[in-house]
């Protein structure tokens, strides 16, 4: 590690500001002039981050605290408590939680089944490949698939009526309902869970089972005192990731029905399109509320991911 790069690293180390580094002479002759290149290397990223992430988001943040005349106000934030918006948040939170919890449980069971259940290896391969595809199969096409399957004239709906005489919609099922949307979201939530949790399950060593069995633990005790505690941080982390994933989704629900679901992203969609709230500041506050919730979920994910990496190396 006594090569040029590490010397350069040390030289650049204490100096935090990029542009300042550029003007300093390099300790090694042939590195002279490369410094300007360093600035050019980081510049596109920095410019992009400022112009297309930081500035627009800060602008929204400011507007969330601005009255129509530009003065500071907390009215926009308080406006989030109006029944229409509060109920949208509540519906969104419930739908995200339901699809995250169900997705996590089913995904975990499926990952356990293919990795530790003694199924042939090729099944595991198929499930992992399919998960990669299905976790990216969201939005408009996913909504179309579920409409063609379980919509009012969907294939399964029609078949159930013709073959078994069961009218799904008469017996309480509706694709354009809370559980209908949850069922649809699960199509990308479960695969995402499988993809994220599989490495953790692979990381559980066979020796742990043997050690526990030698000490006289039953299978239940193994999972209760070894398996789940080791997987727990991973589960919790993935759960929050799935939550954020569902909370920000808009296209799937919008393509199922433009009006049936009173969720926050659809309300925000309508607000951006045509200012349905009739209040620019309130719109910004709505966006801020969304970011706060997804940020919280992601922070939980990042924190527990760091903690869980201890065991699964």
């Amino acid at each position: 590690m006594t090569s040029v790069g590490s010397i350069a690293e040390k030289a650049a180390g204490p100096v935090d500001t990029g542009p300042a580094v550029a003007t300093q002479p390099s300790p090694l002759p042939f590195l002279r002039g490369v410094r300007i290149g360093d600035v050019l290397a980081i510049a596109p990223f920095a410019v992009f981050a400022v112009l297309f992430l930081l500035l627009p988001m800060s602008y929204l943040l400011i507007q969330a605290f601005q009255a129509q005349d530009g003065s500071f106000t907390l009215n926009n934030i308080a406006g989030l408590a109006t029944p229409r918006i509060a109920s949208a948040f509540w519906y969104s939170i419930r739908i995200s939680a339901a699809s995250a919890v169900l997705g996590a449980v089913v995904g975990l069971l499926m990952a356990l089944a293919i990795i530790r259940g003694g199924l042939p290896g090729w099944i595991g391969n198929i499930v992992m490949t399919f998960s990669g595809v299905a976790s990216n199969f969201a939005g408009i096409p996913l909504a179309f698939a579920f409409l063609a399957t379980l919509g009012r004239v969907g294939l399964i709906t029609v078949l159930a009526r013709q073959l078994f005489g069961i009218d799904l919609y008469r017996s309480g099922f509706n694709l354009l309902s809370f559980w209908g949307l949850t069922l649809t979201y699960l199509y990308f939530q479960i695969p995402l869970m499988i993809l994220i949790i599989a490495p953790a399950i692979h990381g559980m060593k066979k020796e742990w089972n043997e050690a526990a069995a030698t000490l006289g633990a039953t299978k239940w005790q193994f999972w209760r005192y070894v398996g789940l505690p080791v997987l727990w941080p991973n589960l919790l982390g993935t759960l929050s990731l799935l939550f954020a994933n569902a909370f920000g989704a808009v296209a799937t629900a919008y393509a199922l029905s433009t009006s049936a679901f009173n969720i926050v992203p659809i309300l925000l969609f309508a607000q951006i399109r045509g200012d349905v709230l009739g209040d620019r500041g309130l719109g910004a506050a709505l966006a801020l509320g969304m970011v706060v919730i997804t940020a919280l979920a992601n922070v939980i994910y990042l924190i527990v991911r760091v903690r869980s990496e201890r065991w699964l190396k």
Partner: protein, 262 residues
């Protein structure tokens, strides 16, 4: 153990049913546009629709632009951080994770407010400006995946030695990145590119709110007006996603398997 395996089969069976049934039903639905027998008419209708051809072509074009712009932003930055400024890594990683924290709809909301026709940089005034804004929004969407892919690629090569060797032979930094580093991480780069393409190609929310006629917006439009064509579009999208993921898996075979050296 036997009991275990039976349980595993049951779980797998239920899961498989949930995932296969909608696909199967959608395929059959897309084939039953005529009262009698199955036909491919819905697919023929879609493929022969000029709006399908133009929006799909445009989406591909936007996707390619997204990849090129994304790479020219991410590759130099990731290289610089790895080689010269490891202390900046947490900052860069945080920025690349921002698009996961900020929902796409909030991102585009920010753009619409910040770059509207009366702003300092009225990008939404012209078609070219809106298309540029859309591309940059997609760059932001793909940023977490693109950065991770490139960074993983850089980890498998000896960035330091390659840079020294190239520099001694007289290459400037631009040449080092484009002619030495980039070809060495091309597999990782292409994986990131295909993932980005899979995300971008059917995207609806951002494009719709910016008012750009892309494939995702076209699909939504068809969904509101037709019965069987949406099912066909759904299957086409699924095949496309599968193709992109298949390419990533295929490329993975060519990824260097050597242990990280730095």
């Amino acid at each position: 153990m036997k009991q275990n395996r039976t349980l595993a089969w049951i779980v797998f069976g239920i899961g498989a049913a949930y995932f296969v049934l909608p696909l199967l039903a959608t395929v059959l639905f897309s084939l039953s546009i005529r009262k009698s027998g199955y036909t491919l008419d819905a697919y023929a209708n879609v493929f022969s629709d000029p709006r399908f051809q133009s929006t799909f072509g445009f989406s591909l074009w936007i996707g390619l632009c997204t990849i090129v712009v994304g790479l020219s932003i991410v590759v130099p930055a990731a290289y610089y951080v790895r080689l010269r400024a490891p202390h900046l890594r947490p900052v860069i990683e945080f920025v690349t994770l921002l698009p996961l924290i900020i929902p796409a709809i909030v991102l585009v909301f920010g753009y619409v407010r910040f770059y509207n026709s009366s702003s300092w940089l009225p990008l939404t005034n012209s078609n070219f400006g809106t298309a540029t804004l859309l591309t940059l929004a997609y760059v932001a969407l793909g940023l977490p995946y693109m950065y991770r892919a490139v960074d993983t690629g850089l980890r498998t090569i000896d960035v330091q030695t390659l840079t020294e060797a190239a520099t001694i032979m007289g290459a400037n930094q631009f040449q080092v990145i484009t002619q030495v580093i980039f070809p060495n991480i091309i597999v990782a780069v292409l994986s990131g590119a295909f993932l980005t393409l899979a995300i971008v190609i059917g995207e609806f929310t951002i494009a719709s709110l910016l008012g750009v006629q892309v494939f995702g917006v076209y699909m939504e439009n068809i969904g509101a007006n037709r019965a069987f064509e949406p099912a066909a579009l759904s299957i086409i999208s699924f095949v496309l996603t599968w193709g992109a993921m298949g390419m990533i898996a295929f490329l993975g075979r060519f990824a260097p398997k050597t242990a990280p050296r730095t």
